[in-house]
Amino acid sequence: MNASTAWHENLSKALANRSFLVGLIITSLLALMAALSFVWTPYGVGTFDIIGKLKPPSAAHWLGTDHFGRDILSMIMVGSRNSIAVAFVSVVIGMGLGVPLGLWAAARGGVTDELLMRFNDLVFAFPALLSAVMITAVFGPGAINAIIAIGIFNIPVFARVARGAALSLWPREYILAARASGKGAARITVEHILPNVANLLVVQGTIQFSLGILAEAGLSYVGLGSQPPMPSWGRMLFEAQTMISLAPHMALFAGLAIVITVLGLNLLGDGLRDVLDPKLRRER
């Protein structure tokens, strides 16, 4: 099949897919907002206006102000950078370590494969938040440690997906043919296996990205994520909690930002899955 035709076919399929389209729009808007926040926000997030604190939404502050009088819209805009960065790097860590591990295990089989599976069991036996709590207890809270905690959890996820897909490819005829022609396992993996599991990995990456946004929010909410003065959606919710009877808007908007972002990514992931691999529909 010609590569560019396939691409065109996928694109037209994608644009016809409602989930994908909606997800793409939301995700692009998010990315735009994050990019915009580098050059412009309605107000600075580093300057406090104690007298103007806890004000409900108004023409001057569309989403109101927080307990230090900061503009919540500006906080959400800058906070998106934090969420995106943490989730993205954790996915990169998970993919960067997990995919080679999974492919390697699939290629080698036997003891290597068994060890990888046991490693997966071990990591999965720890509820993600619990390992995050322990990691931050050792290194102290902060964005970097949130990334490590989430990233570690991503490794076996990607390893499992890569291994599963690779295992189903190895008995295929064209792989057997490649082996017969004397190519080594490593070369086959790079040349034939990896391109064929890439679609799956992109889909899984989107899912893990959205889970990463949720996880970062959870960690920040319990005080283990990124620290002031960097705005973070999860910490905004934590700060809103004690003020909920005074200023419910503080809790509302930061939460909505999380929900919309995660929703957009999930829709994008679902859409991508439908488009890239119809066989995988509805499996998770």
């Binding site: 069991d121 509820p127 993600a128 909410y221 319990v222 909920i244 939460g255 509805r282």
Partner: protein, 315 residues
């Protein structure tokens, strides 16, 4: 079946052992001296040293690990540094909150998700299906702690129907106890129900597409009978997988939710113990949680084999 089961059990035990080494090693490097923390800012150096000796903190790492492991095997998790009571009794007190919370949430989310999944699958492609799945899609995206905050604002702060947090203790009666678990379990259950409903629906649709279902339809069985009789049973495997994963998720979820609602459960115990550097308690609770996850996954694995005998030979 037996060899499959014993292999799974063996794997579970090895995982537990590895986890115990990992937990002990990680917590060993946690900075902060529990003895100094207990004695505070005005303590003299020799008072701190004396307390360290009393707590056995000055012994070599390996000795402490082996002693702890030996205790684990006999059900003795050691004594809490701060509370100076057996760790096991602390855990039992807290499990009496966390376990009901996780179970109620699990039941609640299953009770919502399976009917919704059936409802949607039976009406595949209709307006009802689209709306229901749209709502579920949003539900998946909602962080449970934020949902909890909204519930608190509506039902506790504004309507004052239920307490905003805290737990009166089971000794004040069944109802006050349950009442303070209502919001937390709803907050935990609904986002989980959304995931489960989506899985149930797609599992059902997959099964409905298979040959034997068509055969059953062709034999003249009603749509209803096929859906509830054949399809649901066969769709149970993916649903069960997700339920197993969700249990681990719920246990982790209780850690955050217990902090939102200030419930004295295992999650809060872990947080408190870490801030108080009561490491032996942290080790105990983490091991209990890890053991619970491994145990539930084992159950799920074994029940696959019962539901679908074909799987036994595969592994």
């Amino acid at each position: 079946m037996l060899s499959y089961a014993s292999k799974r059990i063996l794997i579970g035990i090895v995982t537990l052992l590895a986890a115990s080494i990992l937990v002990f090693a990680v917590l060993e490097v946690v900075p902060g001296d529990p003895a100094r923390l207990m004695l505070g800012m005005n303590a003299t150096e020799d008072a701190v040293r004396t307390l360290q000796e009393q707590m056995g903190l000055n012994q070599p790492l390996v000795v402490r690990y082996l002693r702890w492991l030996g205790g684990l095997l006999t059900g003795d998790l050691g004594r809490s540094y701060t509370y100076s009571v057996p760790v096991i009794s602390l855990i039992i007190e807290r499990v009496a909150v966390s376990l009901p919370l996780a179970l109620i949430s699990l039941i609640l989310s299953t009770a919502i998700a399976i009917p919704v999944g059936l409802f949607s699958a039976a009406r595949r492609g209709t307006f009802c299906d689209t709306v229901t799945m749209g709502v579920a899609q949003v539900g998946v995206a909602i962080p449970n702690f934020w949902f909890a905050l909204l519930l608190v604002y509506v039902f506790a702060v504004t309507l004052r129907l239920v307490p905003a947090g805290g737990f009166p203790g089971w000794n004040t009666g069944l109802w006050p106890g349950l009442k303070s678990l209502i919001l937390p379990s709803v907050a935990l259950a609904l986002p989980q129900a959304a995931i489960l409903a989506r899985v149930t629906r797609s599992a059902l649709l997959d099964v409905l597409g298979e040959d034997y279902i068509r055969t059953a339809r062709a034999k003249g069985l009603t749509h209803r009978k096929v859906l509830y009789g054949h399809a649901l049973r066969n769709a149970l495997i993916p649903v069960l997988t997700i339920l197993g994963l969700q249990f681990a998720f719920l246990l982790a979820g209780t850690i955050i939710i217990e902090n939102v609602f200030y419930l004295p459960g295992l999650g809060r115990l872990v947080f408190q113990a870490i801030t108080q550097r009561d490491l032996i308690v942290v080790e105990g609770v983490v091991m209990v949680l890890v053991a619970a996850v491994i145990f539930v996954n084992l159950l799920v694995d074994l029940s696959y084999a019962i539901i679908d005998p074909r799987l036994r030979s595969r592994s």
